[in-house]
Amino acid sequence: MDLLFGAMNLGLICTFLVVGICLTYRIYDFADITVEGSFTLGGAVTAVLILDGIHPVLATFFGALAGAVSGMLTGLIHTQFKINGLLAGIIVMTGLYSINLHVMAKSNIPLMSLTTVVSILNDMNPGIHSEVWMFMIFLPLIALFMFFFALFLKTDIGLTIRATGNNQVMVAANGVNVNAMKVLGISVSNGLVAFSGGLLAQYQGFADIGMGVGVFVFGLASVIIGEAIFRRSQIWKMVLGLFMGSLIFRLMVALALYIGLNPIDLKLVTAAFVLATIIFSQKMRTRPKLTSKKILIPAVIIFLGILGIFVAPFIKSYFVQKHNYTIAVVLFNESDILVITKDSMIKRLNELGYHDKENTKVIVKTANSDMGMLNTIIDELKVSKPDVFVTISSQATQAVYNKVKDIPVVFATVANPFILGIGKSDTEHPSHVTGVYGSFPADGMLDIVEKILEGTVRIGEIWNPGLANTVFSINVLKNELNKRPNFMFEGVTVSSSNEVLQAATLLASKIDAFVLVPDVIVFEAFSSIASTAKKRKIPIFSSDIEKLKEGSFIVYGYTYKQSGIQAAELVHRVLNGERGIPFERYKKLILGINLDVAKELGINIPESVLKKANQIVENGALKEYDMEQSSLPLTQMTKMRRVALFMFTNNSILDTTAKGIMDELQRDSFDKRTGIEITELNAQGDNTLANTLVKKIIDSQYDFIITVSTLALQAVAHNNRSIPHVFCTVTDPVEAGVVKSFQDHPHYLTGIATPQPVESTIKIMRSIFPSAKRIGIVWDTSQVNSEYCTKKARKASISYGFELIEKTVSNVNEVDTAVKSLISEKIDIMFTSGDITVISVIPSIAKLMEKYKIPYITNNPADIGAGVFGALGADYYEVGTRAAGMLKELINGKKAVDLNIENYVPERLHINIELAKKFGIVIPKSILDQASTK
């Protein structure tokens, strides 16, 4: 849901960008690179104004206005000085980089706790999934905008704009000031682009100096996709094409990631795709008669592109090693019930000695509730010749049963296999099929309802009649109700999750209690029922234990963990060659009570019921009690928990941290013992990609998140509202805008801050070089971190009697010049700290310094290997270890809210003695004693 709607929302937001690019690129036939700068400018101006307390809607419009002005500049340069348009765009874009930095005053402005257009929309949300809600609001607004845009292109001025792009000689002869028209068009285009930027900043929760990088090609890709769908024959089609192009492009990106395309390859694939389509559409233009092929060829390209994305993982899997066993797992959708079944099954398999990627290959496929896709998946899985199929849900079971006759099948989380036509009884069925099933325990549930609610009870039920499992459960419930005259039944059927809210509202006035049988569609929208029930003070009796904390009053049903465990044991038997294994029923029922809801409703729970509870929620905390019926030890009940290790980019510091984290989590097989699985996700330094990855993390319900670096922290913090999250390798989380203070932080968020020990470094410089006067420093003004370090260095320099000579750069290519100019200014010591831009060229700076005999000191111990004179800094391996330690505490049951954020700087001093000798510098003994390696 998050991934899908997140992608579509991005697409909607980027529609303005796409329209802007289309305006210049297609209508004016002019590739305007300014957009990369104006996109950021829009985000920057909007963010700064919001920060100043201006209303976000107004702020967004000002952002757009700023973009328009920058476009005007490009237009004027292009027309007045007759400079090639591409060049004019590059000139303005380059200049905008500095302007953007000036506007923002730093490289990143967090907007998380501020009122933005997005937060306003979220406040109006009636309880729908927030991405879906956003989509519902954005879609009509943007459709309306596109309608007016198309209309505009048909007005007199719109016609003139189009004609200007089409034939300049002609419009000039008809009294149109071509230059003015161009300036106007480029301004409007950049205004739209900046509007997109402003919206994106609010949507992702921060404005960043790098947010415009690559938007031109991405926008162009959307334009091209749009044109491939509808040729530019009519304005309406063209505009609709742009709209679709923007959505489809984002969906394709999401799909590619979802399928497992390495994010590193994403830009390459996009670039290749754009190139191929442009070449083909040009060829088509020179042969205008092949109209049907005109549509066909781009379509084929898109198809091939998508196919390529699909095929890539297969090719990859072809090269990886063979496994002893292949287990194919098919889920109908990603609903909690099914995912829990799957996870607990994999966990149990692990305990039984089947380790994924080692001796076993587990292929999990989800059909996203799409029957067509379900069949495709099964076909696809058959190709890899699995040893056993595991089908989770009735739909998956039925589909596999129909298609697979020669491979064993184990089903789980099925209400009743017999109504699916699989066998006649637990022992009479085809020998290649077995599984575990059970339906809604209606009798037990109604017993509990009777004990708690008195008199005649009107129970309300919402279900999807399209789900076989559910219909079976409903029938069981109705049969049971027939025996009990004190109950009345009110039901509403739905066909999708979106209708649940309406159904709940409809029922609420007629019933005393919701009694919910298992239904994967309805439970997807459980929060809508919960919010309705809360408003109307109606208790919810639900069959899904996972929904206890989310507002259920009583939960009574089977646990799907149990379903998974039993399925795993059946798989084990099947793999050992057993056939004709009898079907099993679930071995365990679970009762959960939410005392917080009970209090709200003012309902007293009889002691007899309370005593039987396995899970109780009180004051927001969940307590588990040993289950008498349980035949298995408690440890086996915990499902496989997943940890996302999220990085924004790669560099020596971040990689060292990540290594520390991984080593610590794997120490003494902690991960295996506690059943955690760690997935590394890396955004390759791309803002939008980071956003999508974060959506993926939340969407696939990781249990824990650990982030390395400030940007990674920000990206996650903006979207995450509940998953326990530990951050590290962050200079200052308060500055980053994610927490109010080290004590006051969101209940799921904690971590460690590691500021560079700038002050101690300068102090040590003083003791090593008593007569030194001038310290040279190079830093990138766009890095928040460098700014922070430089500020500290300025202060410390004054305290220790140094003069700090600063040279600023905006990218890595400028560092060399900056360093050389420092050398010519006769510095005594060279210093760089915490600057991601400088980091990659530290070895060459070190070389230069060696040549000029200037001691070079940094704040990263790893730099000693790069040839610096000395380094005082945090050991990032230790930082990673410490952060992982925090995460371990969370995994072991501690709450993030109870762990305060801490400053942790494991200082390490390294001195390069050889260099000291070469330079003829005597290091005081007190310092040498401090140094850990010499």
Binding site: F152, D156, G158, L159, T160, N166, N167, V171, N174, S233
Partner: protein, 270 residues
């Protein structure tokens, strides 16, 4: 009424390629007059027309239209008085827009364009009525992209566009030269009709002596940036080939032309 006074134009002035494209041109055209221009390749005909249209500016001299000095007006400002048809049939229309949309651009020639949909039903049916006059069966194809039409059709539409709103002066630069004889003839016929209907002040460049003599009230001969002769209506009607030869002989004396040039002129026009 248009006055061209002492206009000169250099190209690439100050370089080794310096070229005097117009050499002290003086010309007066009264309202309703139809002037044809003939002259060898590179004699400056197009340059003269561009000068009037405002796409290039004179180095010396001035241009006065209806008592207003328009010498410094840019082309888009002059467009409310001047309209033109180019030699290239593709220059006058926007290929990716429909016939109606192109006509709309011409309909708004020299006027302010507002964000309103001016192409309403009334205007549309007006266009339909006008386009019937082209006799090219285009009246039901107003929504076709111009790019799909033939060069002749496009040139006819450009002509229609240039007279859709009556211009003070109409400039035609060999506008039938790139068309096949039949379509060229049709476009020429239309040209005559429109000029007569609206009594348009017109300047037409042509390479056909016959056209030059048959059409218009006055014929101008150009050579190397100069107007070397003007034939008035009464002369034109009685002019024969022999007369023309005599004329050339006269010219030789007057303009000190060499025999070579006369040969060139003869070859070109006789």
């Amino acid at each position: 009424m248009i006055h061209i006074e002492n206009v000169s134009k250099y190209f690439d002035k100050g370089t080794s390629n310096e070229l005097l494209a117009l050499d002290n041109i003086n010309l007066e055209i009264a309202d309703g007059e139809f002037v044809t221009i003939i002259g060898t390749n590179g004699s400056g005909k197009t340059t003269l027309l561009n000068m009037i249209a405002g796409t290039i500016y004179p180095d010396e001299g001035r241009i006065v239209l209806n008592n207003t000095d328009i010498t410094k007006y840019p082309d888009y400002k002059r467009a409310s008085y001047v309209s033109r048809v180019f030699q290239n049939p593709f220059s006058g229309t926007a290929p990716d827009m429909t016939i109606a949309e192109n006509l709309m651009i011409a309909y708004k020639r020299g006027k302010i364009k507002l964000p309103i949909i001016g192409l309403n039903r009334q205007v549309y049916s007006f266009f339909q009525k006008e386009i019937i006059k082209l006799e090219m069966q285009l009246e039901n194809r107003l929504d076709t992209m111009i790019g799909r039409l033939s060069g002749g059709q496009r040139q006819a539409i450009t002509l229609l566009m240039s007279v859709l709103i009556k211009p003070d002066i109409l400039l035609l630069d060999e506008h039938t030269a790139a068309l096949d004889p039949k379509t060229g003839g049709q476009v020429l016929k239309l040209t005559k009709e429109f000029i007569e209907r609206d009594k348009l002040t017109t300047i037409m460049i042509t390479h056909s002596m016959q056209q030059a003599l048959e059409l218009g009230t006055k014929t101008i001969m150009m050579y190397k940036g100069r107007i070397i002769d003007v034939l008035h209506e009464h002369e034109k009607q009685t002019l024969t080939t022999d007369d023309l030869l005599d004329k050339f002989a006269d010219l030789r004396k007057k303009e000190k032309l060499t025999d070579e040039i006369l040969d060139e002129l003869r070859k070109e026009y006789l």
